[in-house]
């Protein structure tokens, strides 16, 4: 009897998992997971959770891993060249990278499009982008809860946890506040060893 229940429990888990994966993978490009190593997946409200690590290729073909920036605050920005609002905030990011880079900010752009890499690179050069930009993969978008609308940005603290998320274009002042919060997150008070502010 007990064995029957255990077997039934296993069957339930397997069936449920297959149903979930079936929907999760039923879209074009999902087979490109091999081009983007992803660890973890966000569900629900991302604030307070660890940002999923991933590895992508920059526009120069170099590997870019989110975990390489641990210890810095990261503004992870999903965008595309065909996205008008994305173009508006890009010059703001350039300014903010210059202003807060010395304090430990790293902006990372992820281009979520099938456009030729050379065209994306030309676009970023024309915009004066001064931070790394990677060619996005759907697997990374999925790991971050399914990035449907662009721009979508995640503000990640020095400890790798998500401080804030923004979907759609927001004002430069608001972006700056989120950056300041990310810079303060994961910083220890030198006297007490506890998180700063606590």
């Amino acid at each position: 009897m007990k064995r029957n229940l255990v077997v039934l429990g296993i069957v339930i888990v397997v069936v449920a998992g297959m149903l979930y994966l079936g929907a999760y993978n039923s879209h074009p490009g999902s087979g490109s997971a091999s081009a983007a190593v992803v660890k973890g997946k966000l569900t629900g409200d991302p604030v307070g959770k660890m940002a999923p690590d991933f590895e992508l290729k920059t526009l120069d073909g170099k590997p870019l891993r989110l975990s390489d920036y641990r210890g810095k605050a990261v503004l992870l920005n999903f965008w595309a060249t065909w996205c008008g609002p994305c173009k508006i905030e890009m010059p703001w990011f350039v300014d903010l990278q210059k202003k807060y880079g010395p304090q430990g900010l790293q902006i990372v752009g992820v281009a979520m499009e099938d456009t030729d890499v050379a065209d994306i690179k030309k676009f970023t050069q024309e915009m004066g982008v001064n931070y790394p930009v990677a060619r996005g993969r759907e697997a990374v978008g999925e790991a971050y809860g399914g990035v449907m609308g662009l721009p979508t940005s995640f503000y990640i603290g020095r400890d790798g946890s998500i401080v804030e998320q923004s979907a759609g274009l927001i004002g430069k002042d608001e972006i700056e506040k989120h950056i300041q919060a990310a810079l303060a997150k994961g910083v220890e008070d030198p006297h007490t060893g506890t998180p700063a502010g606590k």
Binding site: A16, L19, S26, A80, C83
Partner: protein
């Protein structure tokens, strides 16, 4: 009695778990399937040989959103396009897209976009060559667009479309 009660509870649990998983999976699918444009059924056209007629492709953009016109103001922007595949001796002529309306986002009042919003109609010339036998045909193709609202843009989408064509002598 006890065994029957356990069996019923287990069956109920299975059903609930499968239902919950299906709903969540369905939610993911719905997000990916969402279309910001609704294509109206295309009225059939009647073609006599070598006399082109215009098939009207009409669609509505979801309220609160806009799509780039066929001639957006930047080559980086994805234009709205209709593709119809010629078939069985039927040909598709040059499509004259309607002009879009100029607008700008509140965050960038100086940057103009040329867009379609609300209901849009596009006339597509269709003709039949001399060798086409009278009868019923269907031209197949797709409408491609890319939608935005005031502060977000969404990946390009395609909607399949069909144009019923009747060829008469």
């Amino acid at each position: 009695m006890k065994t029957s009660a356990i069996k019923i509870n287990v069956i109920l649990l299975v059903g609930i778990l499968v239902a919950i998983t299906s709903l969540h999976a369905d939610d993911l699918l719905n997000q990916k399937k969402h279309q910001w444009v609704t294509l109206f059924p295309v009225a059939p056209v009647t073609v006599t040989k070598n006399k082109p007629v215009k098939a009207m492709i009409a669609f509505r953009v979801e309220q609160g959103y806009h799509i780039n016109s066929n001639h957006p103001k930047s080559e980086l922007l994805i234009p709205t396009e209709i593709e119809l595949n010629p078939a069985q001796g039927l040909t598709v002529g040059k499509i004259a897209y309607p002009p879009g309306e100029d607008m700008s986002l509140s965050f960038a009042p100086d940057e103009k976009l040329n867009v379609y919003a609300g209901e849009v109609s596009v006339a597509v010339p269709v003709s039949a060559g001399k060798s086409v036998a009278p009868g019923q045909y269907v031209l197949k193709g797709q409408l491609r667009y890319q939608a935005c609202n005031d502060n977000s843009c969404f990946p390009p989408k395609t909607i399949p479309l069909e144009v019923p064509v009747k060829v008469v002598r």
